[in-house]
Symmetry: C2
Subunit: 118 residues, 2 copies
DNA sequence: CGTATCTACAACCATATGGTTGTATGTTAT
DNA sequence: ATAACATACAACCATATGGTTGTAGATACG
């Protein structure tokens, strides 16, 4: 069975957004409180435009939202939906992982019971 | 305060590895059981070499390991450490998120004790 | 009004990514 | 030994990424 490929999966966007340390840091800050883009930019050793782009990536993944406040654009974390999806994916992995552990345990139990395969 | 930047964070590697649907699918399969690279390749509409590269990305993130079995290279999921790190990062986000919710709840409680907008 | 600030966006650059094909190396089976 | 299979790896290509600078549009302030 072939994998999806047609949809630009939202999981793709979320994981990609989280794959950069600067973006993770921005997200953490914006979960803590609201920050204007220029304020955020002041925290990192890169240009305003670069930070702007990072915010855009987070926005596309629906991890943050922006709202105008006067001449500034306030960024805030909006994780409730997104992180849930991410956790759902990870849980999928965990389920697989656990089921394999279970099977290994099963095999171990069988082999240690020696000869007596139920 | 400036973000890390010096370390090629393992979180970077993990999130990046998970940001591609094909790789997530490969990981799921390899958590379920062992597959040779060529067997894996047969599942996806792309060349053997492409799948090989995807496996390499997963390997670099320590999400899978390979072991030789005859002329094949068997790939298996090795998530125990990696996913824990990923979950740790997400928990960080969740903590921030919750603490903000708490503060919002606090504010709501304060304001509703007053005028009382239902 | 004019000016300073914050933002948006385009153009550009170097490097990384995701894909291809081709070739070389190992391992099994005949 | 030879053929067949599984893998590794290099070279190449198009596009995406992460960064830069520069310019133009809004909005606040004196």
């Amino acid at each position: 069975m072939v994998v999806d490929t047609k949809t630009p999966e939202s999981a793709d966007l979320i994981f990609h957004a989280l794959s950069d340390a600067t973006r993770r840091d921005i997200l953490l800050r914006c979960l803590e409180g609201e920050y204007s883009v220029s304020t955020l930019a002041s925290y990192y050793p890169m240009s305003f435009a670069a930070v702007q782009k990072h915010v855009a990536v987070l926005e596309k993944a629906h991890l943050v939202t922006k709202r105008r406040r006067g001449r500034e654009q306030m960024v805030r974390g909006d994780v409730v939906v997104a992180i849930e999806q991410t956790l759902a994916v990870l849980e999928q992995f965990e389920t697989m992982w656990r089921s394999r552990l279970d099977r290994m345990g099963q095999i171990l139990r069988e082999t240690t019971t020696q000869g007596g395969v139920p």
